[in-house]
Symmetry: C2
Subunit: 250 residues, 2 copies
C-alpha cells in the first residue's frame, strides 16, 4: 500500500482531512518533461508519406525523427502545442489534427523520463511547398521506414494503425488530397493507406451513395489517357451529418 507523502498529509491536517491550499499541493508534485510529437501524413505519387527530419542527437545520428517539441508555454493547451509545431514546421494553419496516444515508458528517452503526446495530422502536400529544409525535412515513404530515433517507429506504427482505422470510420482521406481530385486518386489513397486493392465499380458506387462529392464540372488535364472528372469534397454536408456517421466499409 502506498503511503501518502508527508507534505500531503500535512495539507490534510489544515481542514478536517480536506486539502485547501491546492497550489501548494500541486507544487509538491513530481514533474516530468512533456513533448508533443506530430505524425504528419501526406499523400503523393500514390504513396502515403510522413514528414520527417534527421535527428539532431549525436546518439541517433543519421536516424529519422518525427517533428516534435516541448510543450513549453505554461498556458498552452496540448492541442495548441501540436498546432504550433505544425505551423513552425510547415507553415500550415487549420489542418486536421487529432490526439492519438501518450507514450511514457521510463526508458524511452535516453536523457531521462520524458512523456510524449502523439498527434496525427493529415495534410495536403500540394498546399505546402517545403520551404524549410533544415535537418533534411522531407516527405518520407511510410512503408519503407525501418529504424528511427527514440521510439518514434513505435509511435509512427501506432499512428498508422490509427489512421487505417479512422479512415474507415470517417472520410478523413480528403484532408490528404488536393481540393479537386479524381475518383482514381481517391481510390489510390484508400488502397495505399489500407494496403489492399479495391474494386473500381464498388468503390465508386460507395462514394456516390454517400453524396459527399461535388462534381466541379472540370476534368483532369495533362494526363496521357482519357481525363477523369474532378470532384470536391462536401465538407459542409459532412460536418452537418457527422453525428449520424457510421463508417466506410470495404
Amino acid at each position: 500500500m502506498k503511503v501518502e507523502p508527508e507534505v500531503i498529509i500535512n495539507f490534510r491536517k489544515q481542514n478536517g482531512g480536506l486539502i485547501s491550499n491546492v497550489k501548494k499541493l500541486v507544487e509538491s508534485y513530481p514533474r516530468v518533461p512533456i513533448t508533443v510529437d506530430c505524425v504528419i501524413f501526406g499523400f503523393d505519387e500514390n504513396e502515403l508519406k510522413v514528414l520527417l527530419i534527421r535527428s539532431d542527437m549525436v546518439m541517433y545520428k543519421g536516424k529519422w525523427s518525427l517533428l516534435g517539441d516541448f510543450a513549453i508555454d505554461n498556458d498552452e493547451d496540448l492541442d495548441e502545442a501540436a498546432h504550433r509545431i505544425l505551423r513552425e514546421r510547415t507553415g500550415m494553419h487549420n489542418v486536421y489534427l487529432e490526439q492519438v496516444k501518450t507514450f511514457g515508458k521510463p526508458g524511452r528517452h535516453p536523457g531521462g523520463r520524458v512523456l510524449t503526446v502523439a498527434y496525427c495530422s493529415l495534410i495536403n502536400i500540394q498546399h505546402h511547398e517545403l520551404k524549410i529544409h533544415a535537418h533534411e525535412l522531407h516527405w518520407h515513404n511510410v512503408s519503407s521506414l525501418k529504424e528511427m530515433a527514440f521510439d518514434h517507429k513505435e509511435i509512427l506504427d501506432v499512428c498508422y494503425k490509427w489512421l487505417q482505422k479512422r479512415i474507415q470510420e470517417h472520410p478523413l482521406g480528403f484532408n490528404l488530397l488536393p481540393d479537386k481530385f479524381s475518383l482514381r486518386e481517391l481510390q489510390n489513397l484508400y488502397e495505399a493507406i489500407l494496403g489492399v486493392s479495391l474494386d473500381k465499380r464498388n468503390f465508386r458506387k460507395k462514394f456516390a451513395s454517400m453524396n459527399l462529392l461535388i462534381d466541379t464540372g472540370e476534368m483532369e488535364r495533362d494526363v496521357s489517357h482519357r481525363p477523369g472528372k474532378l470532384y470536391k469534397f462536401n465538407f459542409e454536408k459532412y460536418e452537418k451529418n457527422k453525428k449520424k456517421w457510421i463508417g466506410i466499409d470495404f
Copy 2:
C-alpha cells in the same frame, strides 16, 4: 517563429549542430506534474456504474472525483501507474485496462498546470467487495452523474463514449460480467451501455454465430421465473482470433 532556448543552442555548438549531452538537454526542459485518472466501469443491477470517491479538495467539497494519483515513481510506466491505482483502490490485478486520452488544458486544475492521462478499466463488481470505504468510495450510476470535481465529468464523458464505441468493435463487455452469466444479463449489459433496446432473438443469433460462448451446463438459480442457461466467455478463442475481429453491429 520560435527561438530555441539558449541552453539548447549551446548544446549544439559542441558537436557540429548535433546535441551530444542528452541528459543535460532533458534537464533543461520545463516540467509538468502528471496524474493518471482511472475511469473504472462496472455493471450491477442492470446499470452501468463507475467507481468514484468524494473529492478531498476544499474547493470541490461534496463533488465526486475519479480515482487518480500522481505518476510518481521515476521508473513507472503509465500503464503500470494505472494498474497500481487500481490495485490500491480495488485490490484487483489483471483487469482490463486501456489508455483513452490525455487532458492538458491549462486551466483544468486549480492548483496550476497538471497533465492527466485517462485510463479506462472494466471490472466485475462481484469479484470485488469494496473493502476500503475512505472518501466514500462507491459505485455510482453513470447516467445520473452531473457535476464532478475538476474536469472529471468531461473525462468521464470521453471515456463513456470510448466504451460505447469499443464495445461494438470488441466483446469487452465480458470483463464487466461474472464468470458465468445468462444471455439476458449479457443483453442487459449491451442495452445499458449503448442506451438502446435490442431484439432478443437477433441478439442471441449474433452471439451464437460468434462462437465465443461456452455453455457451462449450469442454470440460473433463485430466480422467480424459468431459469436461463449460464455461459462462460471463451477468452482463449477470442485472443486467438483477435486480429481477424471486425466488429459487433446492432
